[in-house]
Subunit: 365 residues, 4 copies
């Protein structure tokens, strides 16, 4: 194969032919540890990354559990995982701005590069987008392959645990930025990992007031640490009225929807102020009924569907915020485990014991 | 008639004490012609307008038929109607920029004037808004009363038939402007009166392509005259696929929803391009189910609830377009009748024979 | 006169006919303390405020010194001052939302109320605007008169010293908000009082990096306390190069110009990143030469002229930020003095010893 | 060389080694016809285009005349010209979406591809941008070379004469779009070729009123044909006052500056309405003095520096407008000449006889 030895002397693909990868092999719950998967070979414009840390996401759990969505979308045999940081191990011969040894993360949405969205900075909504760890082999492996265009060099001041979460941080940043929170009152429904990140970013971005809603008490506690002024249990039927009371009786100006719960979505829209903005990131698993006149039309509301990250405006924004030191997102990491313990990690996620889990790859340390 | 100043400095019609008005008197279908209604007296900052022409709107028909919405909202005894042009007949003593005899129309949303929306140019979404002809006595009468703040002086070059429709023209303008159509492909679902106005405005505003959908063949014919490049029958199940085919296979960039039909709304969202904008003006009479991930979230769509007109930015925009001579909206008027023939006019609306009907007030001619 | 006693029992105009006011009486440097000025009487929609605290502004100093600008603009006899907080002492009979005793500040730009800017939320740029303390009698007095539309009720949680500065805080907020600083690197040229306020607001609004430039070392120290990451002496010729170095070699993304110095303006534009935004608030006293191709055109820069405050969007934003507790602007107040000591206060300003001076009105305490 | 025969059988580079090119060879006025220039060979991601038509631009004339700007910027030996349409004659081996024989134009700004502007859809303001025909060999030749990223496939419905002008059409579109003209009154200072294009686009984009100013009477006549409602001679000192009179006494809401004349720029700013937007495309050859307080700050103006075209949003917009059939820009072409007659063409430009000249390349017809 055409790859070259890392300047840092890390384990080089040249010395080995195969690697481990965690794959979806059967149409049933579970994932398989495969120990002799061929190491990917870069095409002319591709980069191979030796993964050092990879984040676990709700999507990974859906694929593990083989739910309705994943069983229709994910081809059997796929290596899962899409959040990562690592070192460049090999580059194609037409790669121009990336070098062996660079510490990098990357954008997991691989656009077609030809369509109008791709050619206007909106590759995240390319109709033919391929997603790392869903449509093609991903980051729960010793090495992954990505086009150079998708590689993001990681600043030295950003620690590995945070660098492994740039993908969900980008989701949170894209949501907060699209909605616009500066000087405005913000309601966040769902403060799991991305909701907590959004809380921290909205606080740093000048939200005048943040109200967080979730059904997990620990999430609410963390939300207060991340900048929420008020928190409510999602099963408290009075929270929408309380949210309005806290905002001059008019309701919050911004709704960041990160729960995917139809009930929370409906309650959030009811609470939203006339003229307010709702940014929707959480994915409901079933249709949601809207009372369009009262929820959106008479209200003069703006509703924004949020998908992925803007390529690459969002990445620059995330870097700017991280370097400012004002979004302490590392605190969402509850566990760091060697990737060999992935079954235990999924148990921790399922039990609700974990918030964010980072898997380290000792072989590439 | 002649006018005079009242003891308080207000001016009132001298020759008569009463007037006619068309009122909702009973909780049943129908409206009543009342011939000895007291002429309204202006408060300090109010203006009384002698109506010369008033437009008939779908809302008036809902109130006539006493449907679920109107029977909950409209107090019995209310004079209906909210589209008008006329001459100022009397002014309160604290009126400062309006004079007896001015030719005027007016904004029918009367905001509270104190809340944040009212104080930031968004009085159309004031939570305590009163609407002319719905919450207070309206324009199907010889005289109407409005706060001076809501009075709009009508430019001489705008004919009465058009001036009587500034309210729905403003709805169309607000929808088109909020969505942003310049250089973009536009789908309009529902080309009744406001949809036709939106077609004309979108064409003048530089839409690169306009696709109109309706179930009434005559509306589609008119849409083509107003600037639509392609039209489809709403009951043709292939229209969303055709709309995508006509737009590089990606779907239109803008959806202007003016039908209120849940089926059209769902089809419109399915057709919409990734990254597109949907502006919703039509009011569905029942809940609408959304497949949020595919209709809005993955699509990265922007959805705008449109209500009334921006106060008064939209009014200036309408005036600018009308004076440019490039929105030939007078052609939507299919009938002009004396207001005494209002029952016949409602028959024409119900039968589908009429598009827009203007009622003239001979007494004020 | 028609005014009534305050519920709180504050000194009432009814008990007196005259008041003190600080006026520009002669076309020469200086101001006059006038002790028997008639107390203003409210017109139908006017409010009379018993001033308790008033802020001193650079504009007041220009009028004191009778510079080129003020000698052309300010009519002799005018009471100066435009920053204030106080209690409502009297209201006109057509005042509807303001009561005797309310603690209020107010917008000093009094628009005509009829023109397009006034009717679209942009009264700050009304061509016929009258400014308090410049075109009409202002706040350096025991009582001032303002139309009710311009009155802003002050939240209880905002202390008097801050409430007396809502006008310049609004300037700073308008500048920061118009430019958009969230996640962006910001250069502030001129960190006197408004520049310091802008520093605090930009920090709270999520600027990723703030670079402050001034010629007064104490201002730079304060800027660091208010959130600036780096500061430079304006007479250090290397600062533009340093500012670029600190921002990935590309220059800051936002310039907030608050010095009015032609040299600083030119240097700021040179430092600005391609595609950056410059918001100009500082008023140069002489023409400024631009190398348009390199400073603006090739750079793809956006330049925003900032005047006053948006009416009243900016006021809501200021309130939101103040209540969030994250803009510690009270620290700009270096001195609080009784208004009788205004001559000493001007000395302190001239000497550079003072940053912001608040004058209290013991008679209304 | 590695190029391949065109499917259409057009003259193929394989059959020849050299071509003609019009080059700047000496540091003096004039250009040289060189007949045995090596045909460019594509790198891995490059495309070679057989030029069929190329447009002449004011920039080409500056280089011909060797003015101050060009003598500092353009390396001797450069082939000039940057507006073109042609057929793909050869492609590098890593080219993925372009085929031999494709009819194409291209973006002449070649960004570095690595910096923040390049990675966020703003490659037109890349600090290391290379421009075709200025910094590298251009379009006044039988063949030109461009990275595939910069190639724009031309729609069949767009005629060659228009396709050869997509570059300046994009300048006009970028200017009009950035300013936002829908429903607004527009002043265009300078209606040479790009100003005329901007007139047509602003008209199609819904400008309510267009006022054009130029010193060439023929330009003003053409501007009226392209949609201007009013035109003024630039040497008529009353035009700014007239422009204000025609716009409710307030001045136009938008200024599109395309003259580069300091006097026109100053007059344009004076005429501009409070709150208006000025988009600057014309390049003054000397510094311009601004009265910042009155021209920009008190006015609350927005000033936009316009450079090139957004990559590639502007290209999609131009295509949409052209296909709508509503911007009849072909009419700006006054002459089409074989490229061998370039000296005559420059004479025509200099004499003012020509508006736009298209040079055809018979060898590639």
């Amino acid at each position: 194969m055409s790859v070259r030895r890392s300047a840092e002397g890390a384990v080089s693909p040249r010395a080995q032919e195969t690697m481990f990868a965690i794959k979806k092999l059967e149409a049933a719950p579970g994932l398989s540890w495969c120990s002799d998967v061929p190491i990917p070979k870069p095409g002319p414009r591709d980069v191979v990354v030796a993964v050092t840390h990879t984040g676990m996401c709700g999507t990974d759990r859906h694929i593990y559990e083989w739910d309705a969505w994943s069983s229709q979308r994910v081809p059997l045999g796929t290596t899962i995982g899409h959040e990562f940081v690592g070192r460049v191990a090999a580059v194609g011969f037409d790669v121009v701005r990336t070098s062996i040894g660079d510490r990098v993360s990357g954008e997991g949405h691989i656009g077609c590069g030809r369509c109008q969205p791709c050619r206007t900075g909106n590759g995240h909504i390319c109709e033919r987008v391929d997603i790392l760890g869903i449509d093609r082999d991903g980051a729960f492996a010793q090495y992954l392959l990505l086009p150079e265009d998708n590689i993001w060099p990681v600043h030295d001041a950003i620690p590995d645990r945070v660098a492994a979460m740039l993908d969900p941080l980008g989701n949170a940043m894209h949501t907060v930025t699209a909605a616009g929170v500066s000087g405005r009152s913000v309601l966040i429904t769902g403060v799991g990992v991305i909701g907590l990140m959004a809380t921290a970013i909205a606080h740093a971005a000048g939200a005048s007031l943040i109200i967080a809603v979730d059904i997990v008490p620990r999430h609410l506690e963390m939300a207060r640490e991340f900048g929420a002024s008020y928190t409510f249990r999602g099963d408290d039927p009075d929270w929408p009225a309380e949210a309005r009371r806290l905002t001059h009786g008019q309701g919050p100006e911004v709704l960041l929807e990160m729960s995917g719960s139809p009930a929370a979505i409906r309650a959030g829209f009811r609470a939203l102020r006339n003229g307010g903005t709702a940014a929707l990131l959480g994915l409901p698993s079933r249709p949601v009924e809207f009372d369009l006149p009262n929820d959106i039309i008479f209200k003069g509301a703006t509703v924004l569907g949020i998908n992925g990250r803007k390529m690459y405006e969002t990445w620059y924004q995330v870097e700017g915020y991280l370097l400012s030191g004002r979004v302490p997102v590392e605190a969402v990491v509850s566990h760091e485990l060697p990737i060999e313990q992935f079954e235990h990690a999924f148990d921790l996620l399922r039990s609700g014991e974990a918030t964010k889990i980072i898997l380290s790859v000792p072989a590439n340390a």
